[in-house]
């Protein structure tokens, strides 16, 4: 596949996809809580941009709806809710020391390579241009998962969770022109409810454990005498 043979719009989609992947790495490496929320918001905005682009090229009006929805929800709504919570709990200056920054990012790189390897069978299909996008979206999903494993701050873990959803959305939009509208509306609704629930949980965890460190959530196990 030669990049120069692609249309301008397709090249644009690739560039945006690369930036989305970069945002995932930012999310993993940001030690400051507020900065991590910002990188998540940027990722949402980039996803919305991809959706706009695909909607324009393919002339599919229902994608415009989901693009607007993504922009409102992932780039503005959820980051705003999280910002509000962070301010309410007085965590603006909260920093989390990464245990092994170099190793964490190297594992992230390994995940990207793994994603490209995992989608190799799809490469041999006729729709060639999309395998890149599927690889990147799988990488964003896995990086979100890795973010939840590597970080201990509960809010950052939730950001990782939400960025997994971003990767899935990218896969749906860029490889198949978006899922049916009713499905996308349902998914968006679930994400919104999940974000609100997460907010409730932050307050509960904070109230009960006086910290938002996930390592403290360790009461339930078989061995312990309770």
């Amino acid at each position: 596949m030669n990049l120069l043979h692609l249309s301008l719009a397709e090249q644009g989609i690739f560039v945006l996809a690369a930036l989305i992947l970069l945002a995932s790495f930012f999310l993993i490496a940001q030690v400051r809580l507020v900065a991590a929320i910002h990188s998540f918001a940027w990722q949402g905005a980039l996803i919305a941009a991809v959706t706009f682009l695909v909607a324009g090229v393919q002339n599919t009006p229902h994608l415009l709806v989901s693009a607007v929805l993504t922009l409102l929800l992932k780039a503005i709504g959820i980051p705003w809710i999280l910002h509000f919570l962070v301010r309410k709990m007085g965590l603006e200056r909260e920093m989390e020391r990464l245990q092994r920054p170099a190793l964490t990012l190297l594992v992230g790189t390994g995940l990207v390579i793994f994603s490209y390897w995992a989608v190799l069978p799809i490469e041999r299909l006729e729709f060639g241009a999309t395998r890149n996008i599927i690889a990147i979206s799988l990488a964003v999903v896995l990086l979100g998962l890795w973010c939840m494993v590597a970080r201990h701050q509960v809010i950052v873990q939730v950001l990782g969770f939400m960025s997994m959803e971003n990767g899935l959305f990218l896969a749906a939009v860029a490889s198949t022109k978006g899922m049916p509208l009713v499905v996308e509306l349902g998914v968006a609704f679930d994400v919104l409810v999940a974000a609100i629930l997460f907010g409730i949980f932050f307050l509960q965890i904070r109230e009960n454990l006086t910290t938002l460190d996930a390592d403290r959530l360790n009461r339930l196990s078989e061995k312990e005498e309770r």
Binding site: I122, L125, A172, K177, V182, D190, F201, R219, E222, E225
Partner: protein, 490 residues
Amino acid sequence: MTSVHWVLVLPAVGIFVLAGIPSLAVAGWLNLLLTFAELLAALALGWQVKQSGVLVLPGFYIDAFNVYLVALTTFVGFTTAVFSRPYMAELVDKGLLSRRRMRLYHAMYQGFLLTMLLALTTNNLGILWVSIEGATLATVLLVSLYRTPEAIEAAWKYFILCGVGIALALFGNVLVYFGAQPVVTHPEDGLTWSLLYPYAEHMNPTVMSMAFVFLLVGYGTKVGLVPMHFWLPDAHSEGPTPVSAVLSGLLLNVALYAVVRLKMLASPAILAADLPDLPGLLMMGFGLLSFSVAVLSLHRQRDIKRLFSYSSIEHMGLMTFAFGMGGPLATFAALLHMLVHSLTKSAIFVTVGHATHIAGTQTLEQIRGLIRVQPGVGWGLLLGVAAIAGFPPFGIFTSEFLVLSATIQHWPWLTGILLVGLGIAFAGLFRQIHPVVYGPAPEGQRPVRANMLPVLIHLLLVLWLGLAIPGFLAGWLNEVTQLLVGEGLL
């Protein structure tokens, strides 16, 4: 409106009405009434499907497979509501729950039933995903109802693990949609079951195997398959007991239903390409692993609700194994097992709820001599455990016997693992439960007001299914088997 719509509209209305009713007594009875009406609507739907075969309405697809689960879901939903009304009222009297929290509880109970019924009846694989995620959100609120640190932690783990799992399932859905594009005429139809299933053989086998791996891991998290099962014992032990009953009896079934549906879609494409049946083998592997890990874990439990949640993992593993094995005998057995396990397990959780009220604790070592204190609860627990451990004449014996026969037929060398596992599970359950029901009662345990009617009905049904499966039900299960594997058993 047809009966499908009634099945869904009733719980949807219930969410809003019950959220707004301040009186606890009224809300409890209304919850009961609504679940009863849902049961009647589900039975009407079953009758309709029996008369007309497959029912395809705009947005809904109902065949013998899901209508049988709809009936089961509404039935257990109803009997659990019967149990929950006085049980939860007692908790409010003790001051463990506020009245406002109870409004949330009732609303979410109906919300949970709505999402599960929607997952079962929908014709769209995307909506199936949305409603299973919705069921997670509803039950997260139910699990965290007590707001103790333990409950919060359990709900958080449940939320995160199932959220991640279900996100992977969404990726699988995207891949299915991607793989369906060449075979459907209109791209929008790529997730519509009734349009997709007839062309299952023509889908791309590579994409479908990859999609199935993601879907199995994703929905498998909700089934409670090892190693994605860590949320399950926590959520069962820290949530209110009626919630444990519906989680074990219903939610796990619905998640397994999703896995089986997608296997129906993925297997033909893979078999048509002369590749080994990856979906079936994966389900067998995960099922057997869950079964083995769960039976060993039964021995080291200290909490009575954790004990039975591991038993749920064991049985879900066995069902997944049987569905994965395929063939009419194993599939029939798995369907029967789904039915009897739901009935027995929800009965057990109801009894356990009363037992924990009698003893005032969930710790196994402190619950003693139940038969002396309150014979109804003690005997209920003993018979329930006998049923779940697979004692003849109860129905679980029949279904496990069928699973074993199918295994001897197709995978003889796995029979040993199953037999030993069932033996270990039996020993684990009885070692723990024997002192709980027999022996002298410690000071301070006194009888509670217990409504054992749901338990009695469930156990009698399981007994009936073990002694003689009624003709219409056997015919029905046979029809489902035909639908799933192409040939019937009878």
